[in-house]
Each structure stands twice: as C-alpha cells, then as structure tokens.
Symmetry: D2
Subunit: 439 residues, 4 copies
C-alpha cells in the first residue's frame, strides 16, 4: 500500500482530505469511500470562478463541468440503471451528453464540443451529483446481499474512475489556464521549499524470469492482470527521476535541435509544434526561467523532477544521456512495494517536489516507460460495456507508471498502468533512466 | 429616420428600451444615448446563466463576455486613452485580450480562442464596464469644447459599434444554443401571433441616373459615403421579402439538389455542409417542421420571411424563381425613407414577423443584395486605426441591407451597408426578389 | 480587333503561329481556325518530356495531358455527341475523366486528382485528339445548313475554350516547373532585350453615362453582354502597367510588412503564405534578384510590368501609391479599341515585355481591376450545360482585363472579362493604377 | 535460408530472375548480386508507360522514378562518396532530391511532393543508374582489401535496401493504379489457378524461455539483433493465414459495424475512411465480388489468404474469432527455419496464392503480429547516418513478419522484422491467428 505524504506538507487541502486507510471489502467502508471521493471532486472545484466550468482548451481536455457530470453519469449508468428499483434517469439527454466513449451505451456528444454545453448550467450539474449521491446512498444502504455482491466491483471501479477524473480535472484546468495570458492561479498562497535533492545512483538488477502484474485481492484495473512471467535481462535503473537541472543540460547542449537524438515521429512533432522546452516553462526578457504551476508562476527549481515532457522528449533525453527508458517490467521490479512515496494530490502542492532520498517511484511525476501499452499475456477485458474501459486503447500509446502530484494517494499501486500517446505533454509526466546491465 | 415598432409588440423589453428620438449633436443627448446603449447591452445578458458567458461555437462567433469587454475596450482605447487626463488602462493586458482586429493598435488574442478566456471572470468584465462608464461619464461632462468636438464622432462611432455587438451577442448566442441538444431558451414566455401576411406585388422603377449613399448630417459609417451617381436600368422589385412558404416550395421542388440553380462556390458549400434547409429548421419524426428561436422552439410560420439563409441559398432561390436579387442601388432606391419599418431588437421578439403590408424594408431580416461589398466611388476610410473599421473588409463579402429583428431600431437607416461572406447563415438574413424591367 | 505583335519578336514559334486574320462566319474559315488552334495546342507540348504530361502542382492547375484531353472532350461532348450521325464515344470513361465542371454532363473525376491519371497514356490522348479532329473535320465538311447554323456557335466556343486552355497549359506548367529545384527551362535559347520603358502619365476621363460590354457581331463569351449603360465619375488612369522598378520601391518601403496597406483577407493570406515578393522572384546569396520564366531564369528587368501578383498585392500597392485600381468600366473606357497591343502567345516570349509607348492595355499582363466579377445588368447565361461556362463563377472572384503574353492574340478583345480569386498569383497578372479625377 | 517458389509458377519473370543462391561473403558473389538486383529493379519497370513514372497517389507512396533514383542515391551517397577516389556527384542537386529521410545527410525534398519532379526526366534517371552502376563496378573490382572490408556491409545493405524498394515500387504502383477508374493492368496474360486450400489446424507450443532474433553470420538488419531470451507462455498458432472465405464470414456477420470488436483508434479510422472490406475489393451491381490485382481484375478466390488489411482489421477479426494475433516471438518460434515457403516476387504472380499445405509463414502475405515495433533488449543502431535506417522508426508501428508475393525471395528470413503503422493497408498484409494455450 502506498503511503501518503507527511501531513506537514499538506498546505491547503489538509483537513478534509486526510487519506485514512479503509478496507474496501466492507459495506460501511465502501460507503465512506464513495462519499469521500465524491466530496473531494467538488472540493477541487472550490477555487474556480463560474466562467471556468465551461473551459475546454483542446479536444483531449474536458471542461470541469463535464468531469463533474461524467463521473456522476458513470454511477447512474452502470450502477443505478441496473440495480436501483424503479430507476428513472435524472434527465433523458444526460446519457447522450455525458457518455465519454462507451459505444455499447450508445451515441454520445462529440468530445471536442464538450466546451459548448453551457447548459445544463453548473448548478444543474451539482444538483445531478447530489441526486445521484442520494440514490447511491440509498442503494448502498439497502441492497440485499446478492445485489451487494454485484455492485461492489462496479462501485469500486466508479470510485477509481472518479479519482482518475480528479487528476484530469486538474491537468485539463492547468492546460487551459496555461494558455491564458493572465496566467490564472488555481490556488494561491504557497511557496515551495527548495529541498535538497539527491545525487543520481544506479541500481543493478540481475537477469532472469520475473513475474509482474497484479495477483491477489484488492481493486485493480483489468489491464494490470494477469500476473505473468517475463524474462528480463540484467539492467540498471536510476535512483530518482531526471531533474530540471539535468534536462537543462540537454537543452543547452542543443538537444531540441539534433534530429539524431529523436525518434522520427518525435522529430516531426517537435518541428511542427516548435518545442524547445517542457510545457509550461517560460523565460523572461532577461532569460530567467520560470514555470507555470497551479499555484502560480514559480522560479524553476533545479532539483525538482522535470515534468510535462512527452515520451518523445524523454526518449531523446535518454539517448543524449547514453541511456534509455526502462521497460514497464524493469520499472515494476525496481519500484518494489512503494515504501517511500513522494507527493500526491492530498499534499496540496499540485507540483512535483524534489526527491528526498526515497526514490520517488510513486507520486510527484508519472514516469514514461519504453513499453508500448499492450495486453498482458492472457489478458481478458471485463464483459459488457465496462470492457471498453481499458482494452480498446491498447494501441499507439505508451505506459506510464507511479502516479503524480495530482493523483489521489490511494489510487495508485506498483502494478498500476497509465497510458498516453507519445506526444502528450499536459499530464504531469517525467521519467527516469535505465541502462543495459554490464554483461 | 426609421420608426420603431408599435409599442404593443414589445413583449419583454418594453420599459427601458423605448427608443426615444434624441438629437446626437447635443452633449446631454449624447450622454443619455451613451448610457442607454451601454445599459441595453447588459440587459441583454440578464437571461444568461454564468456558464453562457464563455460560450463560443465557431471562430466567427464571440462569447458574450468578450462582446461585453470588447465594446468597452473600444471606448477605453479610442476615447479615454487619447482624451482622459492622466489615463491609465484598467488592466495592462486587456488591450491585447479585447482588441478585435485593429492592426494599428497592436497584437491581439486570436479570435478562435476567445472562448478560452475564463479569466477575467465575468464579474471583472462588468467591473471593467462600470469603470469605463464612470470615466466616460466624467469626460463627457467635463470636456472642454475642443475636446468635445474631437470626441463626439468617436463616441458616436463607439455607440454604433456597441449596437452592432448587441446584435452579434444575440446571433452568436443563438448559434451556440442552437447546437446544444437541450435547445436552451434565451427568453421564455411568448407565443408569436400568426399574422396575416401579404401577397407578393412587384413595383416598377424606371431606368436612369440615381444617387445613392449618404449625404448631409447625422452619424453614418464611412462606407455609406460619399453619395454618388449610378446608372440603374429599369427594374422591378418585390413588395416584401420571400416567405417561409415560398422557400418551402423551392425545397420541395428539389432546390437543394439541383446544381444548375447554384453558383459553383455555393454548390460546393452546400455539398460540404450538407445543407437542405435554412439554418435552425428542424423536423420531427412525423415530418412536422419547426424552427429554433431565441424564444424557444416554434412551429414554422408560413407567412414569416425566411431567415438564416446564406447568399448562396438566396441566389439559388432567385434563379429557381426566374428572378434575381436586387443590387444595393436598386434596394436603396426602392426602400425610400423607411416609413414603415418592421420589428427591431426593442420589440423583444428576436424573430422575424410576417409582413403587415409595410414592405419590411427595415427590420425583421437583413436582405442579401446582389452587390459585392466594394468602396463607393470616391470612398475614403477614416484616418488612423479607426480607418480599419470598414474599408479593409471590402473583398469577398456581399452587402446586406435594412436591419433585422435583433438590430437596435435607431441603428439602421436607408444607406446602411452591412456585409457578410456569402456562406454566412447565422445572421438574421433573408432576401427579397428583383427582376429586370420589361424593356 | 487586337493586332498581333510585330513579326520580328516572334522568337521561336514564328512560322506556324502567325495569326492571320480570318472571318469566322464562313465555313472554310471556321475549319481553318479549328485546325490551327488544335494544332497550336500540340505544338505547345513539343518542348515537353514524357514525364511532364502528368504534372499537377496544385488543385487549381491541371496536367498538360488533361488539358489536351479536356479540350478534345469539349468538342466530342458538345458537338459530336449531338450532331454526329451514329455518334459513339471514343472511350466510355473519358466523359467521366475529362469533364471539368459541367454538372449537367454528369459526375466527374475530382480536380485535385487529375495528376493521378497516368492512364490513358499520353499516346492514347493524342490518338483521342486525332480521332475527334477527324470526325470534326468530317462534320464541318458535310453538315447541312441547319446543322451548320446549330454547330457554328458551339465550335466557336470550343475554339475559344481551347485557346483558354493553351494559356492555362503554360501557366500551370510554369507553376510546376517553378517549384522544381532544377528550374526546368520550357524553351531555351533566348535573351530578352531590355527595351527602354516609358514614364508614367495619367490620362483624364470625364464623368458621365457610358456604355460598356459587347454589342454587334463576332464571337464573345456570354459574360461580356449585354452592352449597357453605367455611370462613371471623373477618373484618371495610368498610361501603362506598374513596373518591376515601381514594385521594388513598394517592397523596399516595407509594403509587405505594413498591414494598414492591405485588405484584411489579403493580410491574412500574406501572413499564411509568407509572401514577400511576386511569385517567381528569387534572389541569390548576394541579394541579386532574378525571375523564373518559361525561358529560363532571367535577371529582373526594371522596366517590365510587374507580373504574377495577386489582387491583394495589387490593391496594397495601389493604396501605398495613393491611388487605386481601376474599375472594369474605367479600364474598358480607357482601353478603347486596342490599337497598340503588346505581346501575346505568338511572340514566343512567354514573358511580359516593357511598354514601348503603346500603353499595353492588351497583351503582356492581365490587369487586375477593382471590380468583383458579377453579371452585367440583363445578363443571361446560355441555356443547357454550356450555361455553366461563365455564369456560375460570378462570386468571390475579381475581373482581369486585356490578355497576357501567353494569351493567343486572336483570343482577347476590349470587352473580354477574365476572372480569378483575389489570392491567385500563378496567372500572368499585373495591374495599372487609377485615381479619382480632380473634382 | 528461405527457398524460392517452384520454377513452374514463375509466369512472366522466369528466366532472368531465377534466384540462384550466392555466398555474399565473396567479392565475385557480391558483384553478381549487386548487378542482378539492380537489373531486376529496371525489369520491374518494363511494363510501365512513360506517364507512370511520375505517379504518386499519397504521401506514403513514391513514384517509380523516385524509387529508381533513390536506390541509386543510396549507393552514391554511402559507398561512392566515401570510397571512390576523386568522387564527384552525378548531379549537385540529386542528393537533395533523392534523400529519403536521412537527417544526417542534410535537407531533402518533401516526401508528398515527389510526384512533382517531372525533371530529371526518366531518361536522366536511368542514366544516373547506369553511371553509378559503372562506378560501383569499378570500385567493386579494384578496391583494396581494407576498402573491401569497409564497403562490403554497406553494399549488402544497399542491395537489401534496393530489394525493399522493389517491393515498394510494386505496392505503390498498385495503389495508384487501383484509384484509376480505368484500372490499369500492370502485367497482363495470366489466370490464377484456384488451388485447393487447406483446413485450419492449431499447433500447440509450450511455455518457456526462448531465444529470438538473429545471431551468427550473414546479412541482417540491425533491428533483428541481438538474439535474446524472452519468456513465452503456452500458445497455439494457426497452420496458415486467414483466408478470404473466413474474412467474408466476418464481414457478413457485421464485423465492420460492431465497435465492440475494434480498438478505439481502429474504429475511428474505420469510420473516417468508410472501410467495409479489404482494400482493392470491389463488387459489381449484381453483388459479385472481385479484387484488383497487378495482373488485372480477378474474381475473389475464397481460399487465398486475405490481403491488404490493416492491423486494425486483423485485430478486429481475431477478436471476432475468439482468438488473437500472435506476438512476434510466437510467430518466430512457430515459423521455424522456413522450409516450406510460399510465393515471392520471382513467381511473377504479384498476388498471394492459396496455401498448399506448407503453412505460408514465408511469402504470399506479410503477417501482422500483436507486437509494437520496439528495440530488442540490447539493441544498438549502426553508427552514422545509416543508424537512421531502422531505429528511429521504433514507435507507433506494428511488426509484420514473413514477406509477401512481391518480396524478393532472397530478401526475407525468419528473424526479419517489417513494420508499418496500424492503419496501413496498401502493403500485401494479411495475418494468422493465435490463441492462449490451454492452462
């Protein structure tokens, strides 16, 4: 189990969000978890002004209002519609408006146009949330044992789904704010301590047949299973993610201008988009670099993990450094059980912190791996509409591991597989290096 | 002077918006007019929910918040910045954010991204309006005679500019609402009387040298001048715009499927966009036609002027009918002094009404003419940045005349030249027919 | 009647192409004209290598092979198919492949994909031409009087149509060659004499009602009629087109970087396409300017008319010069009967020459006018499919007048109206200035 | 070593192309191989008409002329430029025009515009080939031992590179011909015997650590190495590729209309492109299906391997069939040493044939695997410009194995890794099924 960041660092979201451990196998615990997670989503919206709710800066991003409604639609569609006696939808069109990508559920409103739905007004969306919460509470309280067995995995999935949208709500908001010349501050009133950082060390792992993937009890996504054997050659892996300082060396060595360092598609992308630094980096007239964060513009901290880079940039850096990215098997082997986590959503930083010696496998930044997102041997998606959750995206994406500073702490685990296209930069994505072992 | 619609038809906006005549040459009158017009813009926003303020459904449309800010920016930039003692901008970035297209004023935020500016929040934009209003009030009160002479034409232009944005605020909002499956109602609580309609008559006008364009006192846009001679062949012109009933005949005769009726660019556009009826027309499963309006979905009224058609559709209809569109000279000659206007913004209908025998040259629907938008002989744009107001758009657009049901009544006049690209449909645009005179 | 250039200047195409006057109303004459024009098209292809026949550099351009086939298709479709006894098409698919834009004739191969038709091979296309020529010869010889009367206007139209494609064949070829880093030479072995050029003079024309457009006998396109009255204010017009030297002054004065000189659409286009000089201008490392021509790369001749500019550039130059472009009425009034023509296709220059004092209203460069392409009062398109020839393009284009150095001499006349979109630069398009007359 | 198809099936290319085994380690043998391969490229062009040489139907395809020139440029650039005494390029611009994607060699002509290079004329390109061949012959004959050691691997790479372009020349030509309504026949005069086909059997393979990839002597591409261990779970694999008949069942069961069978990106692609059958399938008015081939339109043969399907279609079929695609490790394990090959380029069929019981792991159709194209553990690209050959494409592509009916027989081997994006259909791509082994 991943541990949360020390309480002292929880700057603004302290009280309510303390992430108490709970045992999800019991009814009371699941109810508590449901309401805590649902409540957290709304708390994340408290710093917003009404105009922010409709904000969609690119097709890959969704407006806050849409996240609020879609995560509600999930419970309404997959739990209430099947298990609530006398179910009637809150609104006949909401299934059309707030379905994300479930073909089996029917037609849906086009993703790039989510920012055009000024109605339902935000107030109606909150009413939708509260109505569904009330009905969910009723169902969770009154369900007979058969129903309870049937809904438990779906409710757990819905809770984890909502946690994913908590992260997306923040990443999407950051993307839109980052485009605004006024550089809006999501949450003011902090300054990040500089920390001390740690030198890079290499850890050696022997070759052999290993097992990765999930086995045993507890909630996981289907893509984490089955646990299976894989052969891993001897490798070395870095003790922490690549830092801002190290990435600046790459930039200053012409890294963005040397095609021999880049994958062909990466170079094309870099040319088309004019990349010359990670997303959100800025520099003033005097050349002083700073970075846009959810807590306002900040000076660039040399010892932080570099963040908001694409797979292409991570891969080019690794080639420049004479190293490579780890495969997801190597990462999972090296990460172990996650005893020394970094910072998660609950820390209230919303920005990665320097390594304190714990290695930062968990929290702070998602880490790009060298592994294309593909099914594990023997993988079976869930049946029905929920089978669309993960499996149908297993093409053209790369696996990221470990969670970030905007991931809820209880959401990740060592076997967790996140995935994004190789050109994506708006997630809190960094990377660590690996090398072939000496033979 | 165009007269306003009879008071009895003013459904919802009655009291405040009564369009009292005023004499703009006097200081008191201009002050009154300034505040009336500024106030009306805000009244038009009263039916909105907060989420609507950010709504931008296509690059040609702007969010309500942007209209509110840009019309304020106009006074701040062209009046206060030059004439207010000790001028300081309300916010250093607003000139960048709310400049529309004035190259001479500097760089500006890209038009298609206006919907991404969730900040400044709407509240700040209203504060911006009130601050500028207060400073404008001070300047209008205290200006010495020399300053007064200098600012009067700019203030008049700013007032007319804001009236144009009142119309655009409504047309843009209608466009976004029209895309929303919930079909939001801008203002509820009305039903349109059916009226009686009038038969089509043709009026004959002899050939000869005529004068068109503006001469004399009173505010006009630069594109209406100079008054000049033009030779007009004998022509006939319809007594009223084409109606819904007449347009339905065209549709039922296959008008949208017969390329021989269409201009080449029109046919390409019709094919690409899949047009088969005017914008906002709908039909239910039983084939019953209705139309989306700012006052809710309404049954199609056969005797109303057809509205929300492009120039291409107007032109194709005219060819089908064995007629043509009038040139703007023919239209201006036929329209005369505008004694019998139709319905304007102040009527509160926000939807065209049937002709009551007055001919509807003014109000209800803008009328496409056969004239490309080009400078009049001897045309001179204003000097400085305001010279960009009209002249630089004199290419690739067609002239429309007469104002619509969302045009403020005091805004139009017989010489008024509106202009849009030939494929535009989201304005309240209709048309009337003309024919060559018997020779 | 436009006279041809002096024989001495006919560098390479001298003998065969001498443009003997003919009287097209007689059968013998029409037959001669038919075969001369058809033969000239093929002679224009003699300098090509086989690879050139498939060359299409943009959707607006067509491959040489397509011009060869389409101009043949015109006679087959509009003459033979209706009038040849026992007509059978040369190939059942050619009507589909070589129809340009005649909706009434049926579906057609998409324009941007004309360069994909490697088959029919060029040899087959020449066989198609010869077969149609033979059958046309038979029909022109044996037609009875009724048939003769019916086909004469169509054959005349087909001849003029083919002349238009002779010009297009060269402009399209130049465009494709101009993109090739090898800069292919269409026809080698010439050097252009520098000439002397002439100073700019202004001619004054009084205000009044004038008549423009075609009346009387002789072939014209439908868009040149009817002759009609128009009121023209007093104006002045330049004695010759704008020269390279004058255009260079505009460039050096920052003309391409000053938005206040440009139409809004023009400025957008200039920004998107990165224009900084007319098409085909080049400069070497030392800054020495040259120009790509069909007769090889040439030093820039200061006294030539500037060529290959868009309407937007012509309009911006005129604004910079404190002048404007003439309307087509002004141009036609000033051009008179065309007594002193410049250089046409038959000169073999394929590049504009300096004015020799004749005024160059005809030949050398097409001249952009300020007139959008619109129907004349009382205009009626031809009936049937040939009605699509001109009328359906009367939108979004500007009128050019006078013919160019790649227009066949017998093809133009004072009333001739050419038309292109305002951003087109690959035609041999220049312009002359006009001014409002002193009042 | 893959054996070639039986001589009897070599329909039109028999004599010259017999693929004699050679030992590439000897100078004489390499010389022979060089000239045989170079000659074969030209023989493949013999059926073309001159117009075909410029044909480019999409950016991914290149004109025949470009293939002829680029494969020559490879030898000129990587062999002659470094090793020929007194080297001078054949033409100073050819390195710019015919470089494909080697950033280290410098700027290059944009890929989508290869079809615009009508010059150099095809004749010049053949002259370029002959000149380089002559100089290569000289160098291969006279090189001292040190030079010989240095150039041997590059010459071998160049030969294999040219073989790849032989295949591409045919696939690209087929794509362009397939768009032409005339349906050109590349080579006429054949009819495909129907064959008998074979029933589908499943072969069982046990779990365990296996080695894949190349080890030992002989030419291979860098992406096939190093040979390395991998853990493979128990699996079953089909005895032959999926046939037309089987794929028709998928179609008739609604396979193209059931999103639950498709990857998300696959479904989007299928929707956007309107796929409903493999590329090149056609059906007449009576519903009779046929297929376009390089040897003319042919009736659909039920027992042939299905061909010209994308990865997305292969993956959807497998899901529909309750199976999956094999990984490349599984494929390589099952394929063994390639004792029973199918049909290659030398057969002259240019179209896949039915399985004759040999299993068709090699030849006939490339087989999509479930493996994203990624580096093998310990992979090192070549140094210098040739390091760009394979490594930089290791993203967003899927591995295909086994070669096709247009692959030269001597070009493939069991470890050969081909790769294309998952939406590519214009290669001769089919697939075979696999299943998890019973546990």
């Amino acid at each position: 189990m991943i541990q949360t960041a020390p309480a002292g660092e929880n700057i603004a979201f302290g009280g309510v969000m303390s992430a108490e451990p709970f045992s999800p196998s019991h009814r009371e615990s699941l109810r508590t978890q449901y309401h805590q997670v649902r409540r957290l989503t709304e708390r994340l919206c408290e710093p917003l002004v009404p105009d922010d709710y409709l904000l969609q800066s690119m097709p890959e991003c969704s407006p806050p209002k849409w996240h609020l409604a879609h995560s509600t639609w999930f419970f309404e569609t997959f739990v209430l519609a099947s298990f609530e006696p006398g179910f009637r939808p809150f609104h006949p069109l909401f299934s059309f408006l707030f379905n994300s990508y479930y073909e089996a559920v029917g037609e849906r409103w086009p993703r790039p146009a989510r920012g055009l739905l000024s109605r339902p007004a935000s107030g109606e969306v909150f009413a939708y949330r509260h109505d569904v919460n009330k009905r969910m509470a009723g169902l969770l309280e009154t369900a007979d044992e058969v129903t309870w067995q049937a809904i438990t995995p779906i409710v757990e999935l819905g809770i984890n789904h909502e946690q994913q949208h908590q992260e997306l709500l923040l990443t999407d908001l950051k993307h839109a704010f980052g485009l605004n010349p006024l550089r809006p501050v999501y949450l003011a009133g902090t300054s990040f301590g500089e920390g001390k950082g740690t030198p890079l060390r290499w850890t050696d792992h022997p070759a052999g047949v290993r097992s990765i993937g999930h086995a045993g009890a507890g909630f996981v996504f289907d893509n984490e299973s089955p646990r299976h054997r894989t052969f891993v050659e001897r490798f070395q892996i870095a003790s922490r993610p690549v830092t801002v300082e190290e990435f600046l060396e790459f930039i200053e060595d012409g890294g963005y201008d040397r095609p021999e360092l880049w994958l062909a598609d990466g170079w094309t992308t870099r040319q088309q988009k004019g990349w010359g630094a990670p997303l959100y980096w800025d520099s003033d007239a005097a050349g002083l670099r700073s970075v846009f964060t959810l807590r306002g513009q900040q000076p660039l901290n040399m010892i932080e993990p570099v963040c908001h880079v694409s797979y292409y940039e991570a891969d080019a850096f690794a080639r420049w450094a004479g190293a490579r990215l780890p495969t997801e098997a190597e990462w999972e082997i090296a990460a172990g059980a996650g005893e020394s986590p970094g910072h998660f959503l609950e820390s209230g930083r919303f920005h990665p912190a320097p390594d304190n010696g714990g290695g930062q496998f968990f929290g702070d930044v998602w880490e790009w791996t060298a592994s294309p997102y593909a099914p594990y041997p023997g993988y079976r998606p869930a049946s029905g509409a929920l089978g669309e959750y993960n499996g149908k995206f297993m093409c053209n994406q790369m696996v990221l591991r470990g969670g970030s500073c905007v991931t809820p702490a209880r959401h990740v685990r060592p076997t967790y597989r996140n995935f994004f296209p190789p050109d994506a930069r708006w997630q809190f994505s960094g990377f660590r290096l690996a090398k072939d072992g000496p033979s």
